[in-house]
Amino acid sequence: MTTAQLYLNCLPILPEIILSAVICLVVLLDMFVPLGRSRVVCGLVAFAGTIVALQVVINPPVAVEAALGGTFGGMITMDGLSQFFRMLFLGGAAITIVFTLGSVETIHYRQGEFLSLILGATLGACLLVASNNFLMFFLSLETLSLCSYVLAAYIKHQRLSAEAGLKYLLYGAVASGVMVFGISYFYGMTGTVQINGVINSVMIASSMPGFNVVPFLLATVLVLAGLGFKMAMVPFQSWAPDVYQGAPTPVTAFLSVVSKGAGFAALLRVTLPFFATNATVANATAGLAGMAHLPVLFAILAVATMTFGNLVALRQTDVKRLLAYSSIAHAGFLLMGMSVFQPDSARAIMFYFFMYFVMNLGAFWVVIVVINRIGGSDLAHFRGLAYRNWKLAAAMFIFLISLTGIPPTAGFVAKLILFKVVISAGISAMQGAVMTPASWFYFGLAIVGVINSAISLVYYMKIMRAMAFERSDDSSRLDLNWVEAGYAMAFAAATVGLLYFEPIANLVNQL
């Protein structure tokens, strides 16, 4: 290894380096720019920096190609998965920064710290999806988590926000502890913390006769607990409603896409090598050997998560809280894709996540605007919105329809592709025209998914009803500034425009 290679090592993580530099810059700026101007100045710098980093991810410098593969002694890996999710995370961070600038919730607090925390969390998420080493994995997860805890509690004078931060911290600490325990199991079993090394050892061992699956499953479940916490997966979801409701709304939006995405990205990172193998449910029901337990495990988790999220969401009256449960339900749908355990399903998950990213951010933006202008996120604040500002209401309709999965929106194609993967797994498990247990399993899973989509319609419709069919006491017109209206419109246009999903499909297929 020459020195030049040492420097080249840094190129793949150039976006992260840029991000770190921007964090330092924002912190410095915040110190020296007068309070009144710091909001805009820091915001713009943070936004510009994120965009530059995003640009580097999309068009990597030529040398990155040469340095691809393991870098930093195999700590970092650069592949389609990490490229895709880094793009999403940086995009999510940039959007969250704009959300922050457009929201009044954090206006009385210093922005520099807020923004640098968002960037810090993004940094953690980006490194998490790229890490190929359990130590790195854990470190970046903690970077993400620690920043998120502080962000959730950022409006420290509000009881709900402080509660959110504390709850998040407590749950998070336990979850990471459990995860480290699981990682130690893997280390104990295989003698390495290199993720691909662990996976190789497990794969080889599992194909041997007399492989004891119990410690492996135990370790997997323990690691899954840490990631499940990030994904808001049942049974690690109980923090989500309180945190989503209490945190400032831009942070909620950030958590619902970037933090959740990081969880799924990490899960994919760990399970992706198994996808290429033949670890399908067909094998599971045949002999219950090897990795075949995982699809069943994911299916159970998926059904539990989406059903729980949807059923509890039915009774919610706070839109932020409702969206929290809806985001739990969406985690369930994404997990449904995990249960298929094929490269196709990884693509479907990424595809779904992209669509979810757009529509969910859009929905949260509308919530931010409503909080700005009407003063709360309760269902009552949405009453009669269609008559007070039709643009905002129309945008919200589109997001809600999309979250339900009704055409002509992005959510429809996302669900379509996801269900397609599940059903085709069922079909390929069939022997001729004869149903096997595995095909029943996948068809059943798809049916549960469809039923859950139907349930979700009920509570999304609750918001639609409040906006269109009810009237508020204050029926004055709601005048938005061009940022508020334009942003909502842009997201709505994207949500409908993604019905043409060819570019996203191509992007995902590069994996």
């Binding site: 290894m1 020459t2 020195t3 040492l6 420097y7 770190s20 410095l28």
Partner: protein, 127 residues
């Protein structure tokens, strides 16, 4: 279980240490003379009589200083170990020192920014 063999000395040390502690405490309790008295039971053997509860509220500044100290202390520990680890074994690669120096320089810059931040935030102010 072969791979656990190198750990046997460590296990022996742990056992020995624990045994030593337990043995000395029990032995002194058995062998030593016992003449308890009121003065001996007081917290301070100097004769000072405590006049209020021991757990009082300390000013938060102490905590801040302790926190900052801890931070920089850990960083010192890191720098020291790093210096040892980066003393490349065998023939040093040309230009490696420069690389290593740059890496640590960035670390130090971030540290300085942190220090600046503390300063501007008033964390170093005592009054």
């Amino acid at each position: 279980m072969e791979y656990l063999h190198p750990y046997i000395p460590i296990l022996m040390i742990v056992v020995l240490a624990a045994a030593f502690a337990v043995v000395t405490i029990i032995a002194s309790a058995l062998i030593g003379p016992h003449r308890p008295g009121r003065v001996k039971a007081l917290p301070y053997e100097s004769g000072m009589v405590p006049f209020h509860e021991a757990n009082i509220r300390l000013p938060i500044k102490f905590y801040v200083v302790a926190l900052l100290f801890l931070l920089f202390d850990v960083e010192t520990v890191l720098i020291l170990t790093w210096a040892i680890a980066f003393r490349a074994p065998g023939a040093p690669m040309p230009g490696f020192q420069g690389y290593a120096f740059l890496v640590m320089l960035f670390f130090m810059i971030i540290l300085v920014i942190g220090l600046l931040y503390e300063w501007r935030k008033g964390a170093l102010k005592w009054t």
